[in-house]
Amino acid sequence: MILGYLGAGALLAGVVMGGFSALLSFWAGWRENDVFIQVGRRGFYAAAAMTVIAALLLEVALLTHDFSLAYVVEHTDLSTPTPLVAAGFYGGQEGSLLYWTLVLGVLGAASLVASARLGARISAYATGILAAILSFFLFVLAVVASPFDLLSVTPPDGLGLNPVLRDGGMLIHPPVVLAGFASFAIPFSFACAALLAGRADAAWIAHTRRFALLAWSLQTAGLLLGMWWAYHVLGWGGYWGWDPVENVALMPWLATTAYLHSSQVQERRGRLRAWNFGLVILAFLLVVFGTFIVRSGVVPSVHTFAISAIGPWFFAFFFACVVFSGGLLALRGAGLGVASGQAPAVSREGAFLLQNLLLIGVVAVVLWGTVLPLVSGLLGTQRVVGAPYYERATGPLFAAILALMAIGPLLPWRHAGRPTLRALRWPAATALLVLAGLFVAGVRSVPALLAIPLAASAGATVVTEYGRAALKNPAIILRRRRRYGAYLAHLGLVVVVVGIGASHFGQQEKDVTLQPGEGVTVSGYTLTYTGSQQRLLSDHTEFIAGMRFGDQTLEPSRATYATLGGQALTHVAISTTSVADVYVVLAGTNDDGSASFRVFVNPLVTWIWAGGAVVILGVVLGNVGERSAAPELARRRIPITLPA
């Protein structure tokens, strides 16, 4: 009871302090009043501290089973294991919003502590924008969707959590992906602040890039963990379904990927300034828009957050963000100017530009597919697109991006000549070799014959670059680790692409009903059903089937929860061989002693997880301890002056 009052109080105090910080920071920044800029920043820290207090109170309420709070009742019960009770914090609509706000407050404070070098004005405006965003979230939490709502009667036990979510993945995937979402607000705030202040220099690029990298890395990890969880827990044999929830996480990732590449053009050549501002802003707008459509229930999705009243609030917030940042970009963007000098199409900067356009093209395809139900619903009967739409429309774009990954790193800045053509012989030869190999191996799917050789040639480019450096001077790999870290990330991505290509185009599946002793063979792998056993546990009944596979026994199982109206929960059994996952789902047991299975053989799925880890490793290794993210610009002291 008391926790509920304290929590609601902390949220309200946070709204007041955040609002105060926002107004004061904008005013002080405009007047360049150092004292009040300082006060405004401390106001943000105070609002962030209130968010931390509210979060701690909710966690305490969950762990002490304070069933006077509706949120605690709806998301946990006394039998829930403690780690999952703690995870209940971000398991529901209100709590996940509070978690999001917490990340925004903490990372926002960290970004402001380090912002003094950027100049008083940018720092003050960034504080104001971050404080405004934080206040919006705290306001929604305090007024519209509060996790601290009290029940008039305290029930003896809670409702518990859905069995589907009773899994270790629940402890890691949601917090990472939500933190990723929240962190896109920081580059956005600094980009808008620089536009407002009319000034941005090398220190600003480094600062914005650092937080964009953080957001990107968290989002990469969140996407991969989500795929891993879907694959291992949900039992449909795949890892990506083009569901709106997945799409809205992918789009800001794509936009930020584009930014991380094009920002180099700004660092090295002083070009694409307005475009870079636009990408950072776009990533955050996609986050807000995605949050709106996923959490308000306006598009049909297999994930349903409880439909609550936050929809209109988020729509208004999205609208305000579009007007504010779009207006800034329109007013200031034109004055950003383009550096003079030659810019031939075939050059590193040309490759970056094309890659950016293609990535934004993918965003457009995914966005259209995601909002189609909304748009068509307004015009008539609601229509939806399935996976084939996304695959057909994004496939050629992804193939072109892979080709650029093979060519782009070998192109010099400014212009390309004969040496470049010579350098391209390795990736080209690799692509042809792999193509021939796949053809001989009997692969006839055109998309697979396109994707895998292109990925291989992109890998060959990375190997070429590392080889060149190793022959010339191996120390350069450490000294210029940002560049070589990025190549390592490319290599990881190549491995991911091969894994996706192989498992997507090579997946085999079979539905079978077997009597004990009978077997089934799927793409050369033979499994024999040995019989099933039933286990009665306190709240559910579990059927475990034995499937002999070589010298091991796989045990897919199916639990039935009588208390939850007979809801079932399947446990997939996966055996990973060197080239494929054998993936067995127990679909059901029958009265005559037989059991029904769905068996998948998924080639090279493990490459996706391994490659994903390499991507993150490359980005982290490449950027840890980088003193200046914009060495060229800092050395040459090129200021980027915007019209005031």
């Binding site: 709806e74 094309l354 093209g361 994004t394 929960l569």
Partner: protein, 127 residues
Amino acid sequence: MMQALKWAIPAVIVAGCVGYLIYSASGGATEYYVTVSQLQTQAPSGDVRVAGVVQNDVQKSGGLHVTFTEKDGTASMPVEYAGTLPDIFRPGITVVAEGRLGSDGVFHARTLLAKCPSRFSTQPYTQ
């Protein structure tokens, strides 16, 4: 001016390609998303997705084959499906069946999606 043109040309070309890809890919892949009553009154051609609540008459036969009735506020229809059922499939939950309505009035589902609970609770607590 020449500079601006140089950046604009590839942008226009890529935008054109993306537009064409969206147009051509949505050609065969768009499906109507309707309720049971809309399906029965409008009868759109091709594959559709139909959302409705599973009724109490779930019949399983021969391993993976299942028939049940799907109902929205007013209308209901029999559904026939063969394959793995979603975990949370049971009477009372909302499912989205993807397939087509046969001339016999039975909906032949190709895939069956259940609304995934992205939250802990099974239902909101009501006093």
